[in-house]
């Protein structure tokens, strides 16, 4: 067992963990932060994407011990005080989710893109999301939503 200290969504946790414990299982099974789901075992699907010290990572391919001393932001840490972020709002307004299972990862991947490239083209959005699979939407509305969030367009309901 290894002792780690990790800040997740603003709260610092100290825990003894097995070295092999995957970050996503630490979040889900130990911390009860089940907003971040698991969709594959080969790091292809991206549903488990979180922010680790300011960049997106796939939490199924990071060991909890590797995050000792780091800060993690999950989908559960995005909305502050019940207020959705512009990206979350855009996903809602553009119908960028159906079953919602890929949504946490899509949001974290898109958020990462917009930090580096606040005004992406549609092609750049598709490139940035290539590691996040969705089986419901055909991606078109996800791309629209990310572009809308980037331009902060308001969409009439």
């Amino acid at each position: 067992m290894t002792r780690i200290s990790v800040k997740v969504d603003g709260t610092t946790y100290e825990d003894e963990v097995e070295p092999r414990l995957l970050l996503v299982h630490y979040l889900r099974d130990r911390l009860g932060l089940t907003g971040t789901p698991v969709g594959c075992d080969t790091s292809n699907c991206g549903t488990c994407t979180v922010d680790l010290d300011g960049v997106s990572v796939k939490s199924c391919s990071v060991l909890a011990v590797q995050t000792d001393g780091c800060a993690v932001t999950t989908v559960q840490g995005l909305a502050q005080g019940g207020e959705l972020t512009a990206l979350q709002r855009a996903f809602h307004e553009r119908h960028a989710l159906q079953c919602g299972y890929c949504t946490p990862g899509m949001l974290m991947a898109a958020r990462d893109l917009l930090k580096e490239n606040p005004r992406p083209t549609a092609g750049e959005v598709r490139h940035a999301l290539e590691g996040n699979l969705c089986r419901c939407t055909g991606y078109q509305n996800i791309v629209r939503a990310v572009l809308a969030a980037a331009s902060d367009e308001e969409v009439p309901a």
């Binding site: 080969t42 996903f91 079953c99 996040n132």
Partner: protein
């Protein structure tokens, strides 16, 4: 429609009520569920396609730390029935036994062999390695035609054959005679590769027992909580009234969660034995072996036509891969397709036969479209070939054969009565949006220049059958259950509304759409409606969600139930307003007396007055709640025209979709935004079949495309932007005029894409490319090795 009701909600792109939780991670996926003392199951699966189990020894696994119990197949066999097949399509179908854990023989790679129960998922995974199994290999059965030979090795030796069933259908004139007279006949063989559904949420099941009272709550990532409850009672012997089944948030299904899986029965049996909560969650690569596959057919199709292109007859012979066992509706999937091969075309003769074949592969079952995509593919592809043979434009050939809009209702040669449709309108709109003539001109130029990158255009004018299904039709097809759906409406004292539905959404947005339907009829605000679903205790009756049935049957049931509420409320309102019912108007949720508009009661006020019951008419039951069970009178028949332009790089074989236009007619639309989303997702899966996906097995029956790294699920970079539009020809068979949209995109798109590739390469002598049209297959087709991989 309700008299005078304001139809404000239906037809409006309401943003989804479902989203807020999903966007913030406040979800209830089955794997999220924790309970005190919960144990985790892990399942050891056969690495071999076919073998006799000489020995299964779990004793060393039991010694591993954290392991609470371990079972081989025979340990779990007592009291456990066979997993159910609800659709024995013929009287003499071969129905093999299907134990949830194999007892003496494994019949596909992934067949469960042993179950380990441990305190956490890590300990359970480790302990699997300590289970000792001795396998005596048996020959795999993989080739559908070879499997039917007299001396073929058998999947189920005791049954004496790999032939599961033969299901014939004949309609109209004798095909042989029609063929004899026809100017032109064409015969083609198409392959429907096996597909892995890949719902983003892997399957999971949690069982929480109340052991002393023998009660069990089963949470499952399922599309069918109601059917599952009945079937689990039958399989495990837990009395139905002691079982509660909940489908919490479910992350997609596409048919793969329309199933009664062994793991659900195993989890229930283990929770019952140990008296402890248990959880099983599939890993993705495990799911590739253990969750049913889709498609898997060889289609021999023959068409007979006049010189002018008029169809005379159609003959279809299918070999359908059942896989190793018959699961819930395995045998019925190709039979759903049987009715769709004639599609939108008029003809004099139709002959169909399907032979179900057992193989040593993962069982097949419903996958988005279930039988209809396969049928649509074969008929649309051979229509293209006929057009080429006759030198006709493929759109013109379709025009010469389709049912004209003034001919509806029209009974197809397969016996379906299409209630409404307008193929001309949808096609004309699609051609205009696509720029068909301009693209044809560009194609000619490129062909003349001998460009290395060729342009091709594909056409798919499909119809399909949704709204499963009139129960009497299901009886005739030997399906074991009915096709009705239930809805009830509870008017709460404060005027808020609960709609209870028997459908079980997993991404389709029923909460939003059902709210719109109820709000319209009741005249209450959209925001005042909540929809309850997916829990056999809270929503006790239902037939669940699959086959694009939910809106057509379930949504219509909501509409009917709401109308009953209004009728009941009218009686109370009349009493309160001291008027006769005939003198009441109901508009926008308000009952008012004709001629004296100040005398009014809202339906929400009536709900409160009914709650107090202080002043109800004599003999009135103190409720305005209502329930409606709807058995549909017909299927519904969405249709549309899809056009695809591809560019094929003849040097590499790479296909790029340049544009995709579809005009779908799904009848009246409740929520256009949701409908468009359903079409997008359907297109993605249909295109994925055409270009990318296939479950590939080696000669020993091992699944080579066994992880998500090997099975090419397309990403945002692999799919184009779609242009979608609609025509609206209301369905005649339900009060909403709706037809269903969940599968249309998948059904229509596959032949449009493959047709476009063949169209691009036809000048080079190519007449077919086997799916998926990988770059290598396309390249080989160009070089005269048609469809070879």
């Amino acid at each position: 429609m309700t008299d005078g009701a304001v139809e404000a909600e239906v037809g409006r792109s309401r943003l989804r009520k479902e989203d807020a939780r999903l966007l913030t991670g406040q979800t209830t996926w089955t794997d999220n569920i924790q309970a005190a003392g919960m144990l985790h199951l892990a399942i050891l699966r056969s690495p071999m396609a076919h073998a006799r189990l000489e020995r299964v020894d779990v004793s060393r696994a039991l010694e591993r730390p954290g392991v609470v119990a371990a079972f081989g197949g025979s340990d779990l066999a007592e009291g456990m029935g066979s997993l159910p097949c609800a659709w024995p399509v013929t009287e003499d179908i071969v129905l093999p036994d299907h134990p949830p854990v194999a007892v003496d023989e494994v019949r596909h790679a992934g067949d469960p062999v042993a179950v380990v129960v441990a305190r956490d998922r890590y300990a359970a995974a480790d302990a699997l390695e300590a289970v000792e199994v001795a396998y005596e290999p048996l020959p795999p059965v993989l080739d559908l035609e070879a499997a039917l030979a007299d001396d073929a090795p058998l999947v189920h030796a005791a049954k004496g054959t790999n032939r599961c069933y033969d299901w014939p259908m004949r309609a109209g004139e004798d095909f042989a005679a029609v063929r004899e007279r026809a100017d032109v006949t064409l015969k083609r063989r198409y392959h429907q590769q096996r597909l892995i559904p890949n719902a983003m949420e892997p399957r999971a099941v949690v069982v929480i027992p109340l052991a002393a009272s023998g009660e069990y709550t089963v949470y499952s990532a399922t599309q069918i909580p109601h059917i599952l409850r009945v079937m689990l009672a039958v399989v495990t012997g837990v009395p139905e009234h002691k079982l509660r089944v909940v489908a919490p948030d479910v992350g997609g299904g596409f048919g793969s969660k329309l199933q009664v899986y062994g793991e659900e029965a195993i989890a229930l049996a283990v929770a019952r034995r140990l008296g402890r909560p248990v959880k099983w969650t599939e890993s993705r690569s495990e799911g590739y072996l253990a969750t049913h596959h889709g498609r898997g057919m060889i289609q021999d199709i023959e068409i007979a036509a006049d010189r002018d292109g008029r169809l005379r007859g159609l003959k279809v012979d299918l070999l359908a891969d059942m896989g190793a066992y018959l699961m819930l509706v395995t045998p019925g999937v190709p039979i759903l397709g049987a009715f769709m091969y004639p599609a939108i075309y008029k003809m004099d003769s139709y002959e169909f036969n399907c032979t179900g074949v057992f193989t040593t592969r993962t069982p097949t079952d419903a996958y988005r479209g279930a039988g209809r995509p396969e049928a649509t593919y074969a008929i649309e592809r051979i229509m293209d070939e006929l057009a080429a043979e006759l030198g006709l434009d493929p759109v013109e050939l379709r025009r010469r054969n389709w049912i004209r809009h003034e001919e509806f209702p029209y009974t197809s040669i397969a016996g379906l009565t299409y209630d409404s449709g307008n193929y001309e309108a949808a096609t004309d709109k699609a051609l205009a949006l696509f720029g068909y003539d301009e693209l044809r001109a560009e194609q000619r130029k490129r062909n003349e220049r001998g460009d290395t990158v060729r342009l091709g255009i594909g056409v798919s004018t499909y119809t399909e059958m949704c709204g499963l299904a009139p129960s009497r039709v299901l009886r005739d097809l030997r399906y074991s259950a009915g096709g009705w759906e239930a809805a009830s409406i509870r008017m709460l004292p404060t005027g808020k509304v609960e709609v209870v539905t028997g459908t079980s959404p997993h991404g389709q947005g029923h909460v939003t759409s059902w709210s719109q339907i109820a709000a319209d009829v009741l005249g209450v605000p959209f925001e005042d409606v909540e929809v309850v679903h997916g829990d056999t205790r809270a929503a006790p009756q239902g037939m669940d969600t699959y086959g694009s049935r939910s809106l057509v049957v379930g949504g219509s049931a909501v509409h009917h139930a709401a109308r009953k509420v209004v009728d009941k409320a009218r009686k109370v309102a009349a009493h309160l307003l001291e008027a006769s019912e005939q003198d009441l108007e109901f508009t926008g949720g308000v009952f008012s007396v004709k001629g004296s508009p100040e005398a009014r009661k809202t339906i929400q006020e009536v709900a409160f007055e009914t709650f107090t019951s202080h002043d109800l008419p004599d003999g009135t039951e103190p409720t305005i709640n209502a329930e409606h069970l709807l058995d549909p009178e017909n299927f519904s028949y969405p249709h549309g025209t899809h056009l695809c332009a591809v560019e094929v790089d003849t040097e590499t074989g790479r296909t790029r979709i340049r544009s995709y236009v579809c005009v779908d007619d799904v009848g009246r639309v409740v929520n256009p935004m949701i409908v468009e989303g359903q079409v997008h997702g359907g297109l993605a899966q249909g295109i994925a079949q055409a270009l990318y996906e296939e479950a590939v097995y080696d000669d020993d029956g091992n699944l080579l495309s066994g992880t998500m790294a090997d099975y090419p699920v397309p990403s945002a970079l692999d799919l184009p932007d779609f242009v979608t539009d609609r025509t609206e020809t209301p369905a005649e068979s339900n009060p909403l005029g709706v037809k269903g949209v969940g599968e249309a995109g998948t059904i229509a798109s596959t032949p449009a894409v493959v047709g476009a590739i063949v169209d691009a390469l036809r000048p080079l002598g190519v007449t077919d490319v086997t799916m998926p049209c990988t770059p290598e297959r396309v390249w080989r087709a160009i070089h005269g090795e048609e469809g070879q991989a």
